[in-house]
């Protein structure tokens, strides 16, 4: 009986043409990659936000760059500790050069570079989700159109326009559209969630960068 159950899906897919099978394969790969990116980025963003929050609490408690730097070493995944570390390292190198008039600009440049790197790290591979969300339904639709074309050709060969002759082909072809939607819907949802969270982290970075620089210079 399990063979029959298996045969239903397997025969449905095996009955499709090579183009539809290729489309299904591409969509399944898209789906796997989308879920992997969603899970990976979800963990990354969550860790980053959590550690940034903890670091900010420490920042407002201590206000001493040396101790903050030591504390930031414990939060390797947080965005704010990373940016703070980058600025502090630059500040440390500037301290040795006495009489440098462009100290603030240099530190600001280093911090900005760190913010960009952090933004790049967080958004890495996220646009792939947008690509899947936008293209997967169309790829599925292409498979369906192709499948229906083949199905109509077979109907012509069978010389019968009965429902029994038409329905199986269309049903097989619609599997491609369904797979496209299955790949696209989580990708779009994941993309929207991640871009929102990453945007929030970027705004936090922009807000606290001046505070970091002031804390170095007031030293």
């Amino acid at each position: 009986m399990s063979e029959q159950a298996g045969e239903r899906i397997v025969s449905m897919i095996a009955g499709s043409g090579p183009v539809v099978i290729m489309v299904l394969s591409v969509l399944i790969v898209f789906s796997i990659m989308s879920w992997a990116i969603i899970a990976w980025k979800f963990g990354q963003v969550r860790r980053s936000m959590k550690e940034s929050q903890v670091f900010l609490d420490s920042f407002f408690d201590h206000q001493k760059p040396e101790r903050l730097f030591t504390t930031s070493e414990n939060y390797r995944n947080g965005s704010l500790p990373r940016v703070f570390r980058a600025g502090y390292i630059e500040f440390g190198s500037m301290r040795e050069r006495v009489g440098d008039l462009h100290k603030k600009e240099r530190i600001m440049l280093a911090v900005k570079r760190a913010v960009n790197a952090e933004s790049k790290r967080l958004t890495h591979m996220v646009p792939f989700l947008a690509t899947v969300g936008n293209t997967a339904p169309f790829i599925g639709l292409f498979g369906t159109v192709w499948g229906i074309m083949s199905s109509f050709q077979n109907i012509g060969l069978m010389k019968s326009a009965s429902l029994a002759a038409v329905a199986p082909g269309i049903s097989e072809a619609l599997v491609a559209t369904a797979t496209g939607l299955v790949a696209a819907i989580p990708a779009v949802m994941g993309y929207n969630y991640l871009t929102h969270q990453i945007g929030q982290i970027e705004r936090d970075l922009e807000d606290f960068v001046p505070d970091f620089i002031d804390s170095y210079l007031n030293q």
Partner: protein, 292 residues
């Protein structure tokens, strides 16, 4: 800035999640298969033990329709009246004869009597059987007898109306009115009552007919729209074998027949007169209805 170690660590996490996602997809597909398996367990398909698809009608199987087709060739030398009647007429004779048989029980008994007397009449048709043997040597003896009976009965059926013209007109009217082919419309009593009216087979045909969802509007042309099915029924009514002797060119008709048979089994147990060995019943499904 990302150090090389950080970058490697990030990549490792990504590959880990990629593996997890792939495994999840495999698990999802397996779950789908399992759900279908559960669905099949909850709604098991009706039991049809064996189905063999044979393109040519079997030797033991189809009795009525193939015979009707072979009738013009084989009965041609036997009866002049049948020479004049086209194949359509021969097919159409059956419902008329049935109507007569069902409407007047006396007439039915009258028709039955010759059938039972046929062994007595055997010496007369032996000459005809010789000609039949000349034509087709491998023809079974039972088929010969039936054909002779058909030949004997045909004049009675046709002689009842005043003349051949009116008979033809009546029959054409019958055919034109698209006989819905109730189970017993195209039956044994048709071409001369070679067999007696069989209430059990008629009942089974009625059951199948009631479960047969088929619309002739879905069929464009009626060429080759015949499905010959042989069913082996045990004494308790269970069906152990369904043989598709011939399938039509329309998948819709074939599927509808298959579904109708699936829905109809098991049949009611058959009467004691049939014995306990089981019974082969042959049906012909056409867009007009079921014949057996």
């Amino acid at each position: 800035m990302l150090t090389r170690v950080d970058y490697m660590r990030e990549q490792r996490w990504f590959y880990l999640w990629l593996g997890v996602a792939a495994a999840a997809h495999v698990a999802l597909l397996a779950a789908l298969l399992f759900l279908q398996f559960l669905d099949l367990r909850q709604h098991p398909p009706l039991q049809v033990v064996q189905v063999s698809l044979i393109s040519i009608p079997g030797s033991q199987g189809v009795e009525s329709e193939p015979k009707a087709r072979s009738t013009p060739a084989s009965t041609a030398p036997e009866k002049k009246v049948t020479d004049l009647t086209p194949v359509a007429l021969k097919k159409a004779v059956e419902p008329l004869a049935l109507k007569q048989a069902t409407s007047t029980p006396e007439a039915q008994t009258k028709k039955i009597q010759p059938a039972t007397k046929t062994p007595v009449k055997l010496p007369e048709p032996t000459l005809k059987s010789d000609t039949a043997l000349n034509e087709r040597k491998n023809l079974q003896a039972s088929l010969d007898n039936l054909r002779k009976k058909v030949a004997d009965r045909t004049p009675e059926v046709i002689s009842e109306p005043s003349n051949l013209g009116t008979t033809l007109a009546n029959l054409q009217k019958k055919v034109a009115s698209a006989v819905t082919g109730t189970a017993f419309s195209g039956n044994q009593p048709g071409i001369g009552g070679a067999k007696t009216f069989d209430p059990y087979k008629a009942e089974i045909a009625g059951i199948i007919q009631s479960n047969w969802a088929f619309s002739s509007w879905m069929i464009r042309n009626s060429f080759g729209m015949e499905v010959y099915v042989s069913i082996f029924v045990l004494s308790d009514g269970t069906v152990t074998q369904i043989r598709y002797e011939r399938q039509s060119t329309s998948e819709y008709l074939n599927n509808s027949v298959r579904v109708a048979l699936d829905k109809s089994v098991p049949f009611p147990p058959f009467p004691r007169e049939y014995g306990s060995n089981g019974l082969w019943i042959h049906f012909i499904f056409t867009p007009e209805g079921i014949g057996h």
